[in-house]
Symmetry: C2
Subunit: 473 residues, 2 copies
């Protein structure tokens, strides 16, 4: 199944199927991605105004056997939105499909087109007195279609689930250009195969999501936020159990913070206020969101007291204002930027069964010490078992001092994760970065079924070729 | 793709692939279903001891082109577990795979084989101080594999989601006999297509789930239950909003009860105590489950007071003991049995966007009055938008007095549901009962994709032939 380039002849044909306004200049922003690992290429960028135009563009690409790269906010971290080689594709940007079609506060539902920016969905939900809980660092530029296509995670998964859990229905264009209408606002609908969840997380390889009906949640009436110094990852998990015993589902976030992350902030972003100095080895950022009259501050103080008493924690700061809350979140949210400035040897987005986390962290540190002298910043969504396990040069050295080491570190980390029943991609997806990992670690029967589904729905192989599944596989 | 009967020659071959203990007598219980709509048939029943034997049996069936009917507890209401015609199939019962493989309270996870009865999972979770929230009337005989294959719903979906939302990972045997290993205990795993959710709800047509890792929840420390007399379905939904404003996710159940259901109980099961006489037109059964110290009784009383004040409700009883709570639930749970004794003209399991419910109930009553003289019992999981909309003969008449009327009533109801953006099968599935509805009301692109996936994964068409998708389609 050889594809063709989206050349001038193709663009000329495209013009007969979609409006002129949908044909865009191939600006550099479409060809870059946040980590600078790849340089993309494209023969044309199209930005359809509606689902029918998406369908027309995909049908044209199918007729011409041109690859299609669906493009949301461009914030993905595994290269699903970038075609670095092969015949130049058509980039299909959802940026013009940016209408919020309806907010139904009494149903706790919002219906948005795929190109709406995540932050705008937050704002529309908030204006209706509701919460759209999906929240990631890139919320100001990520678009909801991309969030769904990659099944985005973030800081509220613990309580509200990931993008998949927040989606009730989708409209999508399938690889043959047919439109699948499924923008239902239903909580229950058992009428056949779950194609919604098949497209969610398929990273654009099985079709393009063009609109979604999303779940909203009641806004917690009181929020309590604290940064607590814990006696290690195991103590942190025990503290999470304690918190859930005390307040049930009200634990909205439970983020592990590594003392190494504090040190990186001190080195690269010194203006960010760090409440503890020197940095304790391990902290957690806890947020509770409670309903009316339940007393979030009191609940946090009770948790703090119980944590002190049981020896799970030794210190902490509680936010007493919105500004203090923002300051605590600023620490968490700037750690990825600090990491970027330090420059990792290898970064990992892994998940583990909760009871394997403590053992993994100890064993991985020991195993990597045998490979070289590293600093490790292990942080993230502890309550979900999701660690951003990032490995950095020793102080005073740079990644250039570790030639060829990145892949070795990565292999070792992924090997240890998989051996403990974990995943080598918890929330970022496979994209083009981890196709080799999927081949290596994926269950063979599952991979064969994935390939059979890909071939059945996209026999020409035009949708996001090379992402998730390798072409040759 | 003509299939063959599971005849003596096939059974003889089967014996060379699986242990003798797995070959069962074709007892009548395998050939009956709860509503007595169909009489099943089978050439052989196999009950494998483990996943490898399931795989061997399916490979043998594939070699001989014999149909396979996966069989859990036999409690399904749409005939997915029954083959009434065509070549006699192999019934594949999971009854011997009934081991709970592990309980991980610190992870809030339980791992169970597909044949474990739902009630046993409740008990194992309870023994570990946890809750497995999936709860349906048939919990004493339904098996978890069937619950997952049909994406079962029930009375706690409002808070905890349906079977799909409670499943972290599955092992399954695919139609080619390959074993897909995916029994992960992970909360996040973005490594390729979501085959778990594809198999969940596929009603055994794409493979057989053999084991599952399931989410547990903290047990609410206080439960409050009340039966409230509401001023109609719209008032009931407003009361639900009020309850959520007051206690957030703690609303575990919110069941609509129709005065007609009370009258049916009085007629057919008079020993069940009904707190209001005569029956009010509409009631809701509300249950709150709260964490430590939050005061469930007080919360219910506050809700009751606010409901009275705003005119949403006019009366109610609060349970003050476990026995009183059970008595309220007994009313709800015996309504289906009362319905069965009265004998419906047509029963429906529909869902609607919440804001369409009130209008639908009024419009459907008016539309059916034009078809004939009926009694309507409209009850169920209101918070999920899921109504069991059941239509009965007028008092003193029986369904025999309504010849040919069942399909007409059903068509009218489903037509009105679909026109309002609803579903003709909210939680029971498609099975063999609703394949015609799926053809008629299903989105064409979605149906085409379903057929393509079925053909890709089960090219011989051996898995549950005739369920969900019609063979000719």
């Amino acid at each position: 199944m050889n594809l063709n380039s989206a050349n001038d002849a193709f663009v000329a044909k495209l013009r007969s199927h979609i409006s002129e306004a949908a044909i865009r200049t191939v600006e550099p922003r479409y060809l870059e991605e946040p980590r600078g690992k790849w340089q993309g290429q494209a023969g044309v960028v199209v930005a359809p105004a509606n689902t029918e135009e998406v369908a027309a563009a995909i049908r044209a690409a199918g007729d011409a056997r041109v690859g299609v790269i669906p493009y949301g906010g461009g914030t993905g971290l595994v290269g699903a939105q970038i075609m670095p080689e092969g015949p130049a594709p058509m980039i299909l940007s959802l940026e013009r499909m940016n209408t919020i079609r309806g907010v139904y506060p009494e149903e706790n539902v919002i219906v948005a087109e795929a190109g709406v920016i995540l932050q705008e969905i937050h704002e529309a939900a908030g204006a209706a007195g509701r919460l759209f809980p999906l929240s990631i660092a890139a919320k100001g530029s990520a678009r909801i279609g991309g969030n769904l296509s990659t099944n985005a995670g973030g800081v509220n998964v613990l309580r509200y689930g990931n993008a998949r859990d927040l989606c009730l229905g989708i409209d999508a264009v399938l690889p043959d250009g047919s439109i699948m209408h499924g923008l239902t606002r239903l909580r229950k609908d058992n009428t056949g195969y779950d194609l919604r969840n098949l497209l969610i997380g398929a990273e654009g390889t099985l079709g393009v999501i063009t609109a979604a009906a999303l779940k909203l949640a009641p806004r917690p009436q009181e929020t309590g936020t604290a940064l607590l110094v814990v006696n290690g990852p195991a103590a942190a998990l025990d503290l999470l159990s304690l918190a859930r015993d005390q307040v049930g589902e009200a634990v909205s976030s439970f983020e592990l913070i590594d003392g190494q992350g504090f040190d990186f902030l001190a080195d690269t972003l010194p203006d960010i206020r760090r409440p503890f100095d020197p940095a304790p080895p391990w902290m957690v950022l806890v947020e509770l969101g409670l309903s009316g009259g339940a007393g979030a501050q009191a609940a946090l103080e009770r948790l703090f007291g119980a944590g002190l008493e049981t020896g799970l924690l030794s210190d902490g700061v509680l936010a007493h204002s919105g500004a203090q809350r923002d300051a605590l979140w600023e620490i968490r949210e700037q750690i990825p930027e600090a990491n970027r400035r330090v420059g990792s040897v290898s970064s990992h987005d892994v998940s583990l069964p909760l009871s394997e986390i403590d053992g993994f962290i100890a064993a991985a540190r020991a195993a990597l010490a045998q490979l070289g002298d590293f600093r490790i910043n292990c942080f993230g969504h502890l309550g979900d078992g999701n660690l951003h396990y990032n490995v950095f040069p020793a102080r005073g050295r740079t990644r250039a001092d570790y030639p060829g080491m990145g892949p070795r570190v990565q292999e070792r980390v992924h090997e240890m994760v998989v051996a403990r029943g974990g995943s080598f991609s918890a929330e970022h997806g496979v994209g083009r970065l981890k196709t080799g990992d999927l081949e290596r670690w994926g269950d063979p029967a599952r991979l064969a079924a994935m390939r059979a589904i890909k071939a059945a729905l996209d026999p020409l192989g035009i949708m996001n070729p090379g992402a998730v599944l390798t072409a040759g596989g």
